[in-house]
């Protein structure tokens, strides 16, 4: 399986769209900070990591889902589009190895690279302007760790869709369509507000983790500071982990069941 993952990583590293996506993922946060600074009349040098988090940070993972979609589509469906996956199957690798190696590659790129791209701006801004005083660093770290689980769930869903379509383009298109519908339904459910919609969609779970409703303003050393309540409930942590892993497990297993029995043409 190690050889398969190496080969798949090699392909992804040499894929133009993947390279463009990586560049975009690593530049979008800075663009966002810059644009936000322009709108608020704050220079780039004045934005701390915690300020970045409370202003635009919550939207970033959602934007990054496009990156996840592209990585997953390329990792899982890229070799299906041009049928180079057939070389893996005819080289004596079992179907299980071919499939699960793709899932691992999908997770390495979909979750690994994306989370890295999300995390790095905080490190960079902390190094340049310091952490700031809008939220607690510890709390944010907890949120970041939990955030990985809905990402695993969403990546699993994308991988299932791409696996069913068998090609990268189709996978990307359908995943995008599904996400649009999810966002729309999430908004509808929010209006209804009669039940907890947190765990219905991966994207709503992700939004819940990175959204903060309560804030207080206080004066410290003659300066008004907005402090956001970033406490995370145990209920949210546990349910997020359980639901995410359970659904991700179902998605990738379903994908395997289909892949194992399907003729590759």
């Amino acid at each position: 399986m190690h050889n398969l993952i190496k080969s798949q990583n090699y392909t992804l590293r040499h894929d133009l769209l993947t390279v463009i996506t990586i560049i975009s993922l690593f530049t979008i946060p800075y663009m966002t900070v810059y644009l936000d600074g322009v709108l608020e009349g704050v220079s780039l040098g004045g934005i701390t990591a915690s300020k970045y988090m409370v202003t635009v940070g919550a939207a970033i993972p959602e934007i990054f889902l496009f990156g996840v979609m592209i990585f997953v589509a390329k990792a899982v469906g890229g070799d299906g589009s041009d049928k180079t996956i057939n070389y893996e199957l005819s080289s004596g690798h079992s179907r299980a190895r071919v499939y699960w190696s793709r899932i691992l590659t999908g997770y390495i790129w979909g979750v690994g690279i994306t989370c890295l791209a999300i995390f790095i701006p905080y490190v960079v801004l902390t190094m340049i302007n310091g952490w700031g005083d809008n939220i607690s660093l510890n709390e944010l770290m907890v949120r970041f760790v939990i955030m990985i689980f809905p990402m695993i769930r969403l990546t699993g869903a994308f991988m299932l869709v791409t696996s069913l379509t068998g090609n990268a383009g189709g996978g990307m298109a359908i995943c995008y369509g599904i996400e649009c519908i999810e966002v729309m339904l999430d908004a509808v459910f929010e209006e209804m507000a009669s039940f907890d919609r947190t765990y219905i969609f991966g994207i709503s779970n992700l939004a819940k983790i990175l959204t903060y409703n309560n804030s207080w303003e206080f004066v410290e050393n003659g300066k008004t500071v907005t402090w956001f309540d970033y406490a995370t409930s145990n209920d949210l942590i546990i349910k997020t982990i359980v639901v995410s892993l359970f659904l991700a497990g179902i998605y990738v297993t379903l994908g395997y069941i289909v892949f194992k029995k399907r003729d590759n043409g």
Partner: protein, 382 residues
């Protein structure tokens, strides 16, 4: 000696069989029953050459190995030479029957021409061998293995180029081969240069595959197939798109690989004249059914020569040939001409009989049947 009838599986190995392969086959055969002593047999039949002692020393559990060097199952086929044994293979796509009880064997060291029109089932056979498609029925045995694990192990000794060579369009030839090298776990990077040189693509540099000609793509497909130093290559239309010079070059390459490296090949091609210059065995297939299996020698004997006769009444001539001359091996071409494959030394009496029967021969010529003619004849026979 135990009663051979109770054996369920037969493994036959040459004297230089690799111990790793033998073990893989043993495990692949799903032996669940362990013998209690050295003189009892598990329901498998192993035939070894010189490796028996090595095997005995290496075994961590006991089972019996029957020491017989080679066993000939039929008069014509030595089982130690059979590397692919297809039995009653059936494949159905929805309501369409792509393969209908197909059976054939492939000998080690042979070059098998798989011949049939589009949609005959050639590619389906290759896909099943490659593990890309699953048979609906029947059995596929490769290198003695019939189960999935064993077949996958067998595939590590094989390579496939099915349909259009699959390549990453935006990668160079070298990058495509690097991907294959990584996937196959080939440690030596020099292998890429070797295969590029073999297929004459060493000078493609940074040119991406998208800008390759069809012939160059075919060559790259072959390079891919050669990467893992296979013992057995399955090639679907490998000379498709090659220029005449390229065809000769690739033909010589196949010959060289077959002779010098003992690589067995299955080649499907529409260019039958090319196959006839290369193949040692032929399998004719049409509508998912095997129409004939021949060695090159058998084919030569079958093809030999024929008389082509054109008369003023070919219908009546056919009746005379059958009833008066007792000739059965003849056929009527689409053009109306009659080809006679027997009694070739009796052409005087044939023409005399035709004349006396009121039929005037307007053209008689002696020709030789080539593979293409023979194939057409077999296909027309249905």
């Amino acid at each position: 000696m135990a009663d051979k009838k109770k054996f369920k599986t037969t493994f036959v190995y040459d004297g230089d069989a690799d111990i790793g392969d033998i073990f893989a086959d043993i495990f692949a055969s799903k032996i669940k029953e362990k013998s209690q002593g050295i003189n009892q047999f598990v329901p498998c039949d192993f035939y070894f050459g010189k490796t028996l002692n090595d095997l005995r020393n290496s075994l961590s559990f006991r089972f019996i190995v029957l020491l017989v060097k080679k066993k000939s199952i039929s008069g014509e086929w030595n089982m130690s030479e059979i590397i692919v044994d297809v039995k009653n293979l059936t494949k159905q796509y929805g309501k369409q029957l792509a393969l209908d009880n197909v059976s054939f064997r492939i000998r080690k060291g042979s070059i098998v021409g798989l011949i049939g029109p589009n949609g005959a089932g050639k590619t389906t056979i290759m896909k099943i061998m490659a593990g890309l498609a699953f048979p609906t029925g029947g059995e596929l045995e490769m290198y003695g293995a019939t189960d999935e694990k064993g077949l996958n192990h067998a595939r590590t000794r094989m390579s496939f180029m099915i349909e259009t060579p699959y390549e990453k369009e935006r990668m160079t030839a070298r990058e495509n081969l690097e991907k294959q090298r990584l996937q196959k776990g080939i440690p030596d990077k020099k292998r890429i240069d070797e295969v590029l040189e073999i297929v004459n693509l060493q000078d493609t540099g940074k040119k991406i595959v998208k800008n390759f000609s069809l012939g160059m793509r075919q060559r790259l497909g072959l390079a891919n197939a050669l990467m893992g130093k296979p013992e057995f290559m399955v090639l679907d239309e490998p000379i498709n798109g090659l220029d005449p010079e390229g065809i000769v070059e690739i033909r010589e390459l196949f010959r060289k690989l077959n002779k010098e490296e003992d690589i067995t090949m299955v080649i499907s091609s529409h260019i039958l004249s090319e196959l006839s210059l290369l193949c040692t065995d032929y399998i004719f297939i049409n509508h998912g059914q095997i129409k004939g299996i021949f060695t090159a020698d058998e084919l030569r004997a079958e093809c030999s020569e024929y008389y082509q006769i054109d008369t003023d009444n070919n219908e009546k001539a056919s009746v005379i040939l059958t009833k008066t001359m007792g000739i059965e091996k003849f056929d009527v071409q689409e053009t109306g001409q009659i080809r006679i494959y027997e009694k070739l030394d009796d052409i005087h009496n044939i023409s005399k009989a035709l004349y006396e029967g009121g039929v005037i021969p307007v053209e008689i010529s002696r020709n030789e049947v080539n593979l293409e003619d023979y194939y057409m004849r077999k296909v027309q026979e249905g």
